[in-house]
């Protein structure tokens, strides 16, 4: 009967004591290097400004753990990569846990208390689990190698849109080499681990306590059988084992020591980044503290420590690069490259104990590591990047803060400058007199209440485009009609309403935003109402998420939820189910920003439309290109615009009749794009409100039904 105590692996078997000492010395050395490297990273983050983490760290840790264990953020939009990463992650984690378990017994429990547990059944199950873990790790790695080397997905193309081949920091081969080195070194560790297992088995085949239980290490056993099959003897196996042991050990220790210096650090930086995640990072931008002298980010040390950490969390997965509408249409912006540039810059300037002169810390420009004006102005602040990043990097606040500095310096397109001056003067981007804000209501049979003079249930915040743009004025009139027919008690602020400021803020004119928000909040506070409703997703976002920081907390809903309620409660009755084949474009500021994906779809269903979603829908909706102030900047001539790209996507839907939007800027951008892409006559663009109007009984039809236009 074999004593279960002997069913185990003797560590350092047949090693001279000096060898063991040397090994431990190297081991501690490796740990030392690891700790020192970690310190350098932490010292780098400390150069950043302060940041207060909201909420309890414990609950954040729990959330982060759940996210990591489920790999929720990694499987999104790339199940294969997510799955393979899970294999690597769990394989590595198990192997690490396993080694730690052995250490606990060998280095702590046994010497101190004589206790042992790593033997017998525990040891056997342990061996099995770890073999499987090693297989998972190896399998995942091989898949990733194949993906990177053969599949070559576009998002792993590191070519930069913001640099030309002659620029010194254009070449990305350093990153590529690092990526492959990472994969190969881990794979070598895994493979040599298995070979080592096999060698030991062959070497100790004469011991029944080893050989009889070999299949508890199935891979190692397979290797052993194969080696024996080709005639490997026990003694030779022992020699190979000795050499391979050191090889495997040294590579593993080197790997660990180099973690803080290589991509492998994402193990820590990614999890920390996830733990510090601000779910409203893009929706609710930070105020400029009153005490602050300068505005926005001029230097790398203006970033707060959490943002410096974000820079290190990025693993170049390319999801943001792929999702960005500016990048997709050839603009010199890739969110990935903004982060990587700044990371390179931080590593160059913040790597030592002393800070270089401030002038060398300037992150604006075209030198290596800097971000250019053209890059920053290309951003649509659509938050596709922030939304999809698996490690919770928050690109948008960094871009907007850098824009704040550009605005301060006046480095903007002249058209944008003009628009900001117009908004400052007239409170709207059209330059119209404030008195004309309510002019669109004159076409209505029944006047709309003035919420400044009498209390109402709903305060309708209309927004610039819906008030002044002729096409959108029609939509406003239609919506007013629907509300009146449903007997909703609502009113307007008329000429006390100004531009809500969402895009002004995202352009970086924080002073103007302050002015607008404060004025609007004052007007709202002087009015009496229960809830705000708005037809403009941009206004919706800023009032909902940002006005609170300026002293205005109000209940607000987007018209889609209100209309849905009116339809479900029967206050609006569908008398003519439309039967159109439609697709729905999720507006960035309603969908991604505020998770408002369902109400519009429910409405479309209720009015009898056949909805065929585009591939890039819901959280992956493709921005029309007007956000971030881009509607106030001219587009480069001769290049495809995001709206055109999007319409072409819709055109793939067979038999599409209506492209449905629920945002005034979308309506403008897409109607234009339908014409310029040559799709006029194939399908039309309609605001959801207009479709509801068609489907609901009404005495007067304000908009010609879709069929008549075809």
């Amino acid at each position: 009967m074999i004593d279960s105590l002997s069913i185990t692996r003797t560590l350092f078997e047949d090693f001279r004591p000096l060898a063991v000492t040397i090994f431990y010395a190297i081991g501690y050395g490796a740990i030392g290097v690891f700790l020192w490297g970690t310190w350098i990273q932490i010292r780098k983050y400390r150069y950043g400004t302060t940041y207060d983490v909201a909420g309890s760290l414990i609950s954040r840790f729990k959330q982060m753990s759940a996210t990591m264990l489920t790999h929720r953020t990694l499987v999104r939009r790339d199940h294969a990569a997510g799955g393979a990463h899970a294999l690597i992650f769990f394989g590595f984690a198990l192997l690490f846990l396993g080694t730690s378990t052995i250490t606990v017994e060998y280095d702590i429990l046994k010497p101190l208390t004589g206790m042992r547990f790593w033997y017998g059944n525990f040891y056997l199950w342990f061996s099995l689990v770890l073999d499987v873990a090693g297989l998972m790790l190896g399998g995942g790695l091989v898949f990733m190698m194949w993906r990177r080397g053969w599949l070559k997905p576009p998002k792993l193309n590191y070519a930069r849109p913001d640099r030309s081949p002659t620029d010194p920091d254009y070449d990305r081969s350093g990153y590529r080499i690092e990526d492959w080195a990472f994969l190969w070194s881990l794979l070598i560790i895994a493979v040599t681990g298995f070979v080592l297992e096999g060698m030991r088995l062959v070497w100790l085949q004469s011991r029944p306590e080893v050989w009889d239980y070999r299949w508890w290490s199935p891979i190692g056993s397979a290797v052993a059988m194969a080696m024996r099959g080709v005639g490997l003897g026990a003694e030779t196996a022992g020699t190979i084992r000795s050499g391979l042991w050191w090889f495997h050990g040294l590579i593993a220790l080197a790997f660990i020591a180099l973690i803080p210096f290589t991509k492998v650090k994402h193990i820590f930086t990614a999890s920390a980044s996830l733990m510090l995640r601000d779910p409203l990072a893009a929706q609710r931008l930070p105020r400029v503290p009153d005490t602050q002298e300068s505005v926005g980010f001029s230097y790398i040390t203006d970033l707060n420590w959490k943002q410096l950490l974000h820079l290190d969390a990025c693993t170049k997965c390319g999801r943001c690069h792929e999702a960005c509408p500016a990048n997709a249409t050839g603009a010199p912006l890739s969110p990935r490259d903004v982060i990587l540039s700044l990371r390179e810059f931080a590593n160059k300037t913040l790597a030592s104990g002393t800070l270089p002169d401030q002038v060398e810390l300037d992150i604006h420009g075209k030198s290596p590591g800097q971000v250019s004006m053209e890059t920053l102005w290309s951003c649509r602040t659509c938050m596709a990047c922030v939304e999809i990043c698996p490690v919770a990097v928050e690109h948008i606040p960094i871009i907007v803060q850098m824009r704040r500095k550009l605005v301060e310096a006046g480095d903007m397109d002249p058209l944008l400058t003009k628009t900001l001056q117009t908004i400052a003067k007239t409170g709207n981007s059209f330059g119209e007199s404030k008195r004309k804000r309510g002019s669109w209501t004159k076409a209505l049979a029944t006047p709309i209440k003035d919420a400044r003079k009498e209390p109402v249930d709903y305060l309708w915040f209309v927004g610039d485009y819906a008030s002044f743009d002729p096409r959108n004025q029609k939509v406003s009139q239609t919506f007013a009609g629907l509300l009146q027919e449903a007997n909703v008690d609502f009113g307007l602020l008329y000429d006390s309403e100004q531009n809500a400021g969402n895009d002004v803020r995202r352009v970086g004119e924080e002073g103007l935003y302050d002015l607008l928000a404060t004025a609007n909040i004052e007007a709202m506070k002087n009015a009496q109402f229960k809830t705000i409703v708005t037809t403009d997703p941009h206004s919706f976002n800023t009032i909902r998420n940002e006005y609170g920081d300026f002293g205005g907390t109000f209940e607000i809903e987007h018209y889609t939820t209100l209309l849905r309620d009116l339809l479900t409660s029967g206050r609006l009755k569908v008398t003519k189910p439309l039967g159109y084949r439609v697709t729905f474009h999720d507006p960035c500021h309603l969908g991604r920003f505020n998770k408002g994906y369902d109400a519009p779809r429910d409405i479309l269903k209720m009015i009898g439309c056949e909805l065929i979603d585009m591939k890039r829908c819901r959280d992956n909706s493709f921005c029309c290109g007007a956000g971030g102030g881009r509607i106030w900047m001219p587009d480069p001539v001769g290049v495809e615009k995001p709206a055109q790209n999007r319409i072409r996507e819709a055109a793939w839907i067979e038999g599409l009749e209506v492209y449905v939007v629920s945002c005034p800027k979308d309506l403008t951008m897409f109607e234009d794009a339908v014409k310029t892409t040559g799709n006029e006559g194939r399908f039309v663009v309609r605001e959801l409100i207009e479709l509801v109007r068609e489907a609901v009984a009404s005495p007067v039809v304000l908009e010609a039904p879709v069929e008549e236009l075809a």
Partner: protein
């Protein structure tokens, strides 16, 4: 010795929608006034600040003649780089025309003793196009109007300027300094003053002068000191085009017909 550039600016008035003439028929009802810095002054101030930023000891002083509301425009100038701002006003200055304003500005210049004076070619509200040059006339200074290029070195006694004439023609000229120049649009690209810098400029003081500081009397200003007097202000009857109605297609067709008829007739 610092070079002082004095920039005379004006807060102009634009009229809001559906404005009405005042009961006395001599001006528009002030309820409809929209105030802003004169567009030309963006350019003249920018030209002065550019000289300052080119190096050397330069002080830029903006001066305006106007009531308290004009402080807002002065703050904008301070935000854009002016070092000091002065507002001159006295109730008796109400009703001053271009010549009376020029008299006040001339007194201010005697007080400030600048080395250069900039003004805009005209103001966007009343477009007299003469105030700046009239100041030069009162002081006997060299002057030139409609300048769209100014090559200046600190301490120089002459400068090369370029005038923008009618019909797209430009003319180079050489002028003695110190001088009064009226600056034309397009001479430079005025910088953007962010709302924040304007707000911060609110902390800078605005000097306030009246008649006594400038040794002027009530007869020098206001209607008494003006070269003209408003008899009546009225909204002119505008001629009206014959509007072509109809759908877009109909309108285009009608216009195309007009064009073709014209071309047929002129062949």
């Amino acid at each position: 010795m610092a070079t002082k550039i004095l920039v005379a600016v004006k807060q102009v008035i634009a009229l809001d929608e559906d404005f009405e003439i005042r009961a006395d028929g001599k001006d528009v009802d002030a309820d409809f006034f929209l105030r802003d810095l004169n567009e030309w002054d963006d350019f003249s101030l920018e030209e002065a600040v550019k000289i300052k930023e080119a190096g050397g000891e330069v002080e830029v002083v903006v001066v305006t003649v106007g009531p308290e509301e004009a402080d807002e425009s002065l703050r904008k100038c301070l935000a854009k780089g002016a070092d000091r701002a002065v507002r001159i006003w006295d109730e008796t200055m109400e009703g001053s025309d271009s010549q009376a304003i020029a008299r006040v500005l001339a007194a201010a210049i005697k007080h400030e003793k600048p080395d250069l004076v900039f003004a805009g070619v005209q103001s966007s509200d009343h477009s007299f196009a003469s105030t700046g040059i009239a100041v030069a006339g009162l002081l006997g200074w060299p002057h030139a109007a409609v300048v769209n290029q100014f090559d200046f070195s600190l301490g120089a006694t002459q400068a090369v300027i370029r005038r923008e004439l009618e019909g797209g023609v430009l003319q180079m000229m050489n002028i003695d300094l110190p001088a009064v120049l009226s600056i034309q649009l397009g001479i430079n690209t005025p910088r953007y003053a962010s709302l924040r810098t304007i707000k911060q400029a609110a902390a800078k003081p605005i000097e306030s002068w009246g008649l006594s500081e400038l040794s002027l009397s009530a007869s020098d200003v206001g209607e008494a000191g003006s070269a003209s007097r408003v008899r009546r202000m009225y909204i002119p009857e505008k001629g009206r085009a014959q509007m072509i109605e109809g759908s877009l297609a109909e309108q285009a067709a009608k216009l195309a017909a007009i064009i073709k008829e014209f071309k047929g007739a002129s062949v």
